[in-house]
């Protein structure tokens, strides 16, 4: 085969392909297929086919695709995947990929710069932020997206009413100080219920998780003993109890073990129709967790919201506020070099804060209060 022959066949096929790319005509398609089949029969044609296929792939996307990648928290994953999917439908040129690898992984990956944005159930601490600044040379911004909450769930045979829990009771149970169901601390909050004289069996999450973080963050706010002995983290050294893997592991364990108590994510409890108790908040009223009471907790905390949104809203003030709630955050670098990516991310954030917030209830996530949305709208301007 001579060089000239080779070029001839190549240009010929690519011309056909580009024509095909412009007018998708079935007649032409058939012609081209036949031509390609003919090409395959001789070695010279094979190279031409390969070139043609490559040309076709290159010609295919008519408009530029912006692809963003993110990684992190698993708790908001169902919400995020719905948002990213809907956003892609409304804006076909933007595609957002999200991997729910866990909050710790999200923080690590955004710090290493392997993803465009991270996501976490707990805010980054000062040390992590300093490390981010040092490695990436800019700030990391926290954007609350939705709210989550933890609820105490239990299995006490013969009791169908929702039990009331005081903060002292919850701390006592998880510290291993309260060991019986009819302990005065539990009984006095439930005067109408006759609690049994059985041993409490505590169930907690076995793996490190944002759900645990919120739960122990609450306990350490209401109990100095907890704060000093155990502390706050996504995984802690539990004084008592069995570990169940995931929300399903904890709730499965509780279903099977009479007289057990544990905590699960509110979304999980709602979707699986679990029985869960009410918790006494700062102003002294027993509140059952629900989308409204969780949003109320965020609204209560909104007044003292710092500019970087790194705030814990457990034990929030307000009569209607449910005390064991938390934001979940997107972590976005303040400087994004690639202008198209920056625009796509900023546009998505604006969309998420407006129409995106309307989708939260369908998936049992509590939506952000208005004050927080307004504040985030301003914070978006910091992305450059």
């Amino acid at each position: 085969m001579t060089t000239s022959q080779y070029w001839e066949s190549t240009t010929d096929s690519s011309r056909v392909v580009s024509q095909f790319g412009l007018h998708a005509d079935s007649e032409m398609k058939r012609n081209k297929q036949m031509k390609m089949l003919a090409c395959l029969k001789e070695p010279r044609g094979r190279i031409a086919t390969a070139v043609a296929v490559a040309a076709m792939l290159a010609a295919c996307p008519l408009h530029a695709q912006t692809s963003l990648t993110g990684a992190g928290a698993t708790f908001p994953y169902p919400m995020y995947s719905k948002w990213f999917n809907q956003y892609h439908k409304a804006h076909p040129d933007v595609e957002i990929n999200y991997q729910s690898i866990g909050s710790g992984g999200g923080i690590r990956q955004v710090t290493e710069g392997t993803v465009d944005f991270g996501a976490s159930d707990g805010p980054m601490n000062d040390k992590q932020i300093a490390e981010f600044k040092q490695k990436r040379g800019c700030d990391i911004l926290h954007f609350p997206t939705v709210l989550g909450a933890d609820v105490p769930t239990y299995n006490v045979p013969g009791i169908s009413a929702d039990l009331n829990f005081t903060p002292e009771a919850l701390a006592g149970i998880f510290l291993g100080r309260i060991t019986k169901w009819n302990d005065p601390e539990i009984q006095k909050a439930n005067p109408s219920v006759k609690l049994p004289n059985n041993d409490l069996i505590v169930v907690h999450r076995s793996e490190a998780s944002g759900t645990t973080y919120v739960w122990v963050d609450y306990l350490s706010k209401v109990s100095p003993e907890w704060k000093q002995k155990v502390g706050v983290g996504t995984a802690v050294n539990w004084p008592v109890g069995l570990g169940g893997k995931g929300n399903e592991g904890v709730s499965g364990q509780i279903k099977q073990t009479p007289y057990s108590i544990g905590y699960v994510e509110l979304v999980y409890a709602i979707q699986n129709h679990l029985q869960y108790g009410q918790v006494r908040n700062q102003s002294g009223s027993f509140v059952k967790a629900g989308l409204a009471s969780v949003t109320a907790a965020a609204a209560g905390a909104a007044e003292n919201m710092p500019d970087d949104f790194r705030v814990s809203i457990t034990n929030a003030p307000g009569r209607a506020a449910y005390p064991i709630a938390s934001f979940t955050w997107l972590l976005i670098p303040s400087k994004i070099q690639d202008a198209t990516k920056r625009k796509a991310l900023v546009d998505f954030l604006r969309w998420m804060l407006t129409s995106g917030q309307n989708d939260t209830a369908a998936l049992s996530y509590a939506q952000l209060p208005k004050q927080v949305v307004a504040k985030e709208q301003k914070a978006i301007l910091k992305i450059q």
């Binding site: 866990g102 710790g104 923080i107 041993d199 502390g231 983290g233 069995l242 570990g243 169940g244 073990t257």
Partner: protein, 327 residues
């Protein structure tokens, strides 16, 4: 026979096409040697690389805790104190428990399938066993927590406690999830490995051996136990090692039934934790270099535990097989 003869004749005269054929054959030898060498070398390389990575990435934790990492029991990510002993204990106990149940069960069924069962039944059973080996471990974990644990709770543990309750290993309350449950789930998971490999090696024992033994007046069982099984023993031992390795490294199924409580209790009915399960549980959310490093060091410890247990098992087998040879 005739083909061998012609080949031999063809090789004999030097020169011509035969020599070039031999050369190519020789070249084929070289090629085969190289390819297999690369394959074997890759395995060595992967092991060395894994070891190196785990060793170097755990430096922070190794320097901070030294050997005390292996003998302390507090695992507190908040305070940054890490000790691996409860995890080592859980891994070793559940694996040994799994082997204790799975080895007699696995070798027994392998002997039945290869020596006694009609071939058709044997083949059908083998197919089922291989199917069991392919079930993902998360399925075993789910079956464990939703089906096996309630059965243990109702029908197995109460009689065990009433019969052997005086033994410390069967004392204390039983919450369902425990070292015992994890050991039983592991035994179910590793039986297929033992059965499938052992059956193959038993079947590979030459027919002459069995016939010779039977001709000398040995019964079928004597032949199986004194001739066939010793002949296949190295393969059976291999299957047990494979099963042990699987048990030591099993993550998902164990974490779902073990209770994930890092503590050391004499009772098998108490919840515990294992190395593989704590790594899987905490790695994704681990923040902080020391915490990560400690988790990676647990991987290094698992390497060591596997090494030691394998060595001990080997010594045990050599010792017992020598005794068998003398008697």
């Amino acid at each position: 026979m005739s083909t061998t003869a012609t080949l031999d004749q063809g090789v004999a005269p030097p020169g011509g096409r035969v020599v070039s054929f031999r050369r190519r054959l020789r070249a084929g030898d070289e090629v085969a040697y190289l390819i297999t060498l690369i394959a074997a070398g890759t395995i060595f390389l992967i092991t060395a690389l894994v070891f190196y990575e785990v060793f170097s990435q755990s430096a922070l934790s190794r320097h901070k805790f030294g050997w005390s990492f292996l003998i302390t029991s507090v695992w507190d990510p908040v305070a940054g104190t890490f000790g691996a002993l409860p995890f080592i204990y859980g891994t070793v106990v559940t694996s040994i428990l799994g082997l204790l149940v799975a080895v007699p069960e696995g070798i027994g069924s392998a002997i039945f399938l290869s020596e006694m069962a009609p071939p058709r039944l044997s083949n059908a059973c083998t197919f089922l066993i291989e199917l069991l080996a392919a079930v993902p471990s998360v399925i075993y974990g789910l079956l464990g927590i939703f089906i096996l644990v309630p059965i243990l709770e109702r029908h197995v543990v109460p009689p065990l406690k009433s019969a052997f309750g005086w033994l410390p290993i069967f004392q204390g309350p039983f919450y369902g999830v425990s070292l015992f449950s994890a050991g039983i789930v592991l035994s179910i998971m590793i039986v297929p490995f033992i059965v499938s490999v052992s059956r193959e090696v038993l079947l590979a024992v030459p027919r002459d051996q069995r016939e010779a033994s039977l001709a000398l007046g040995a019964s079928q069982w004597q032949t199986t136990w004194r001739v066939v099984v010793p002949n296949a023993s190295s393969g059976i031992v291999g299957s047990i090692f494979l099963a042990l390795a699987r048990a030591l490294g099993e993550t998902m199924a164990v974490t779902m039934v073990i209770g994930n409580t890092p503590q050391i209790k004499a009772s098998l009915l108490a919840p515990g934790d294992s190395i593989a399960s704590v790594i899987a549980n905490q790695f994704t959310e681990a923040t902080g270099d020391l915490y990560l490093s400690a988790l990676i060091e647990l991987g290094l410890v698992l390497f060591g535990v596997t090494f030691v247990l394998n060595g001990l098992a080997r010594i045990l087998i050599i010792a017992t097989s020598r005794k068998g040879a003398h008697s």
